[in-house]
Subunit: 330 residues, 6 copies
């Protein structure tokens, strides 16, 4: 059984089926072409170079293809690279299940659906309930499959719905501890806050930004979508609808991060805090898993380019980490 | 004939009908109440204090009332104040026309309407034409009466439509000079860019922010409104509609000024520049009118709190300025 | 039974025993002295002015004195003021219990102590446990009585310990949801993060900054204190000690907020997030309690000077709010 | 007839006379030298690499030389590159007119001169007229040949004078629309605002910064030059001269952009706005010409590193663009 | 003998001849006028209020007048105020020497002149020597009398020349310690760096900004003046002249502080550091003199609004401070 | 005799013993490994590449090894590189003294020690004297050998103590010129301000950051160390100790540069200024030594990435510079 591409160390030998995540062509300084190929399995991805690539290589090795690759792990500027010795496209005979090479949330789509439905039941305000339910229904299919981002956090299959579930669990703890928080607004705000990403991003795999994603952004897209759905339900003039629009509008907190207004009531502020906390924990946890105890991680763009330390007294646990959440489900 | 409240100098005596713009009650340090009253006529407004105010005063002197006031102009921290000696509410016998005490655009509503209609005819792209026409029709009544802001620029009757007309005239010069600019996008963007203010602001007089103005802002309101109207016309999926949404979204240029995305095509950038230029010229011109040649104006909030100099060789013209645009129409 | 000074509205009449929180003397523009007195009971505080104050008044009305005051609530720039008609010092005959006029945490000192002790038991790492226990023991008395700040958040009796308890409850939810977080580091970091305030602040009442508070700040004070205590326990060179020092050092996240280093491992980052969240919820909740449904609160310094909206559909709950946590305990 | 180097697409074959704009030598990772050569014709420039360059190559291929090159267009990181197959220096027999390979303004020097002279006639204030005329006379030759910048905007032959002409045309529209703007100050300010660049930049081709350009900048150079010329004319103490100095000093608006004072009267502010607008339109237009409809341009340094979108409904026009202004004149 | 107005404490009684530094008229909230008068002697200045002022008072108490005032020191917001009981204009019979009421440098004009002449002799480079000598000669009279600023630092008689002398003394230590620093450039740069203030500021007393000071600033004024003087000497094209212009241009280091270019050679950088250090020491020393040991000073605008602590172990010295430099010279 | 590696120019031939400062391995685009080796002698260091490196090369060429290298100087992006032709490890027979290949301060350890001891004697306040002496004694060995930084300034043998000595010499000039500065605080603050670097940095050669350096920084480390030492001396509660802690805490002036509090008394501010000045002069002097007269230096990270000009009239001195301080001592 294979280790998972994220967990090899420098010098180790790899021989695995891998999925091509992206390919770009370059020109080496000897004038010959080469391919930079990102290869992934369900544990993560790794950069590799195919030197002196041919036209046939370019045809075979495209995003979405599955290959059998063999070679060694080297390190360049603190990041692993995969030095390919041999590579070939797979055929039907190889009997590889492509879905098993994709990183995905630790909960299945059904589990995610159940969890969110449960929280939906707890929303008592009828305006908020109907609106949230209608929005969820409209976006149902994509909502449970989309990643939450192109590259920052929760960028894996069902990442968006998993992110929402974690936030809802934390929200439950918040409303228990601080009874003056309005549970209905908070739960609904969490469920819909990132739904605009289903229009901002191009799809579940090889995710990029759509034209409306580039020109409007998921926040503006979603604010308009809430209004449309509320109008269809005949509740377009309710204060609750305006409040939910504001929660979506303000959930990045800061103009520079894309919110033209800061949160202006307490549930909007808490939505922002929980969103930020869950994203950061996801990002930090995944960076630390790839770092040895007693060492610093590579720089993390989404954490202001900080590098994080993994305590050395963490050693005892380090060996067990391959059984961690992200593998369970596959 | 009266001078207009904006043009008195320190020491001069005033005896005029004036409209109350706003009133706030305070407590003097001798423990007695007083009213801070902003009085206006069509040339501008001035602060005054009514010391030792009675309950009857509070009933009589409210925003929107017309009074006959008499007193002297004093100066405090570089701004004129009106030291009231006598003040009384007006009655029917005074035969004051309240509309003549309100500052308004130098063009009448009909003139503004004609001008904008002309520009609308010049838009050749049918999607852009239909959408702009439909939006203008929906907002028709308010569009020609609203001010463009609570207090920053063009804060007078028909200020919004006048601001749009000035921008259109400049836009015409731009497309003549730079033929690669798309006239249709630019004209349409100008006409609709601030329409969201009709929902953001409470009305034509005693203007304040509505709840949705506070929680969403005119930009988000308008982006959604474009989508709704386009859907009604069956053109919701046209690229032109997306581009117009983006023009509205980005016309403040900068996240801190309320645009979550910067302008991302050339007509969007030019819309921003013309909007900014017309607003600044309006603000600067009005500040300079109140400043004597050879002196600096009071600090102007909308110009980064700068103070502007009025050249002293400007003296020859200074006496004529009371015939300027802002009076013509009344 | 009295309402509590925080809950009066403009125009209402007050007749209550109140505690003087602070007094400053000023000179009115008629040349006569006056006192600005902040009066408090357990629900909050209010500004009042005593015009034409005498030397006797200055002697009687000092911070810490209890008075019987009678007068009316007025509003100035959106904040309530108390217009005193009569005021007198209290005597023994009034039988006022000063402790009942002080705002305090909703949990008693014993409850807080029990709660924190419980969490201490859950820390398994012996180095972390011993160090935290020793620090708690050293600061025991003050730790359970001090406020968490002079004026920003949790500025009431036992505010510091209550803040720690809320953070611990949230931390428990975090470690349940995200099992890769080290519970021991997180709990210990929370318990000690603000202990330096016991040296930075002057005391439980009439709290101000000490000289070392001004020159060093609670963060630097506490980093040194951890080292000293660890040395006394003979564990000064353990990695865990260094990690806890870093958690205290970095818990304000940002150089401008007083942390020379940002959090550099995941538990340090989470400590910051929980600290920030609990402080903000405390600040927001108290501002909203003083705001009517459908209105905006006064500007909140600790929230970037934002003003918060209280939804109008919140009306049903508004009447009940006087039974809220902050009164329960008295 | 050739297309122009700016308009080839990936995969197309090139065989053209080209002018070398700049050359730098590098060392490939196989230890062999190579040349990075920027080649230009009147439509733009392109990067190329000459691998394994010899001493002879280094002698032949220097800035200012004309070559005949043949090869293919490739793309690297979203920018075109020219993959040279054969290259040779030209000889007299080739009969290439070097001037035809230089990008230049769409108006000839005579046309630019006529246009600016016309505007000069419209300046009525004698002090302003004499000073502007004298400055223009002093710098006459360079003024009509220099580019407006090393690399940002209008970086082509006669770019400075063309930039001034466009600004004057826009200024005419401004003074027509806003009659309170002083035409004399505005026209004069525009004509002289960038004259300091004639000392800041090294010349018409292979433009770089002079030592005084680096140490003082064109703004300080020009402010001093105005003073000197005014003294020579015996008008050094006129307010108009001080105002023109200030217009030059402040025309970058912002300290970070090189203006120690912001514009402090209205014509100075408008000068800044028109300068900025014309520069941006020049930059945007040229970036969009190189971008296919439906795609985003490369990042534009002078626009805060933004990338601009070229609408896809622009397709109809795309084919005609090779007849655009920048070619007309050659 | 009097103490000096800077050294009184709250509650002390004053009876002194004082010079009026500035007067502004206000309107009290009882509707009566009052004067805010800044009174000074050679030790400093103090704010006072004259309530219920008459037209005669306004005529008598103007900037530059000497008065005999009697009253008490009070404190308002941490600053001393002078509560006037009686005040009268002085007459010839009072025999007050106005010059003795002005704060001035601790060295006389002759001493300053000698010192600077000495440093001038040490400049060996003939271009630098001649230019510096010529500039000093041109500005001779004002140079030794002007203050260095309106209100920030060295704002007293001969403050500018004294500031230059202190910087020269420090520069001597710098060139001794670091022999690679060019002494000639550094000394010359120091002598001329602030000469532009002789045109930027209106004069020796009641100093304000001139119009060219406001529109150009002392830096631009001086850069031009260096060029003119160098041209007169026929050395306008020497590198040394350009370097000195740059030193003046860059000596505020930072665009926001008025330097469009940062220092670009080592002597220019050191000029900035010494300028900044001497200004700060002057500002700090004067703030601390007015602060009691063991207390914090009032906020200091020129030090980023910081408040400075005066150590309590400084007590022994506190009593002697009235013999300090600033009094010696009078 | 050799020139010193810092002083070669492009095209010159090198044949020298050199010390390897650092080595990193890379992969060329032809797939072969290469080593990037920084080679140093006492004058500076230079980058070189060893193409096609073998396993043996990797074993031989490690940080700390001495080699005999021969080759040529080339230039890449304005920086010299050393193109190695032949390289071999040295043996005992070569009789190279490694210590002579290390850059070090121009004063010997004994000279530095004497100088600092002298200044220590001048401190009169017994608390300050005892504390400074004790701290110096504790850190004695490392204090005189450590560099002052990894790469910014004074990054050479004894760099820290040399930096302290220069600052003390400047401080002496300051206290002579400004008698109100407390000499004792200033001298002591200078001696101890960077002592925390002895724990922050890993050692004298191949210097990197320690774990506590990364997590706490030298400032926090030293503030705690002062407290500990003061407690050992029984003077932990003296104001002087608190003041010295604050001087260390604030000596970077600014939160972003690592000081959570700005300097809050005058000696703390001056400590910062002298620290900054000495560091900048060190950095500038060394950059200029490597720059030809009439040219600009490479960009200097520690000076905000500025490039500095070396005046061309500096030519006469340029030839002599190889006898400069940094060589004298070896």
């Amino acid at each position: 059984m294979v280790k998972g591409i994220a967990f090899y160390k420098e010098g180790e030998h790899v021989h695995e089926f891998l999925l091509i995540k992206s390919v770009t062509k370059g020109l080496a300084s000897n004038g010959k072409p080469f391919l930079t190929i990102y290869l992934q399995d369900k544990t993560g991805d790794i950069e590799s170079k195919l030197w002196g690539s041919t036209a046939e290589d370019e045809a075979n090795y495209v995003a979405g293809a599955v290959v059998l690759a063999e070679g060694d792990i080297t390190t360049f500027r603190g990041r692993n690279q995969f030095k390919i010795r041999t590579i070939r496209p797979t055929t039907e005979h190889d009997q590889v299940n492509k879905a098993e090479l994709v990183m995905s949330a630790p909960l299945s789509i059904d589990e995610l659906n159940d969890k969110i439905t449960q929280y939906l039941f707890e929303i008592k305000n009828p305006v908020i309930q109907r609106l949230t339910r209608a929005l969820l229904k409209k976006h149902h299919h994509d909502f449970f499959e989309y990643p939450a981002a192109v590259s920052i956090h929760h960028n894996f299959l069902s990442g968006l719905a998993y992110h929402v579930c974690c936030m809802l669990d934390m929200a439950k703890a918040v409303v228990n501890l601080y009874p003056e928080i309005d549970k209905d607004l908070l739960y609904a705000g969490i469920i819909i806050h990132d739904m605009g990403k289903l229009k901002e991003l191009s799809g579940v795999t090889a995710t990029s930004y759509t034209l409306q994603g580039n020109l409007l952004g998921h926040i503006s897209i979603m604010v308009a979508a809430i209004g449309e759905t509320a109008d269809e339900l005949g509740i377009g003039d309710k204060e609750e609808v305006l409040l939910l629009k504001h929660m979506v509008l303000s959930h990045h907190e800061n103009p520079e991060w894309g919110s033209p207004k800061p949160p202006m009531f307490k549930e909007a502020e808490i939505l922002h805090i929980l969103d930020d906390m869950d994203a950061k924990i996801n990002v930090m946890t995944r960076a630390i898993r790839k770092t040895h105890p007693g060492e610093f991680s590579e720089r993390i763009f989404a954490m202001n380019n900080r590098t994080l330390y993994r305590p050395s007294f963490d050693i005892g646990d380090a060996e067990d980490e391959r059984q961690h959440p992200f593998q369970e489900n596959n």
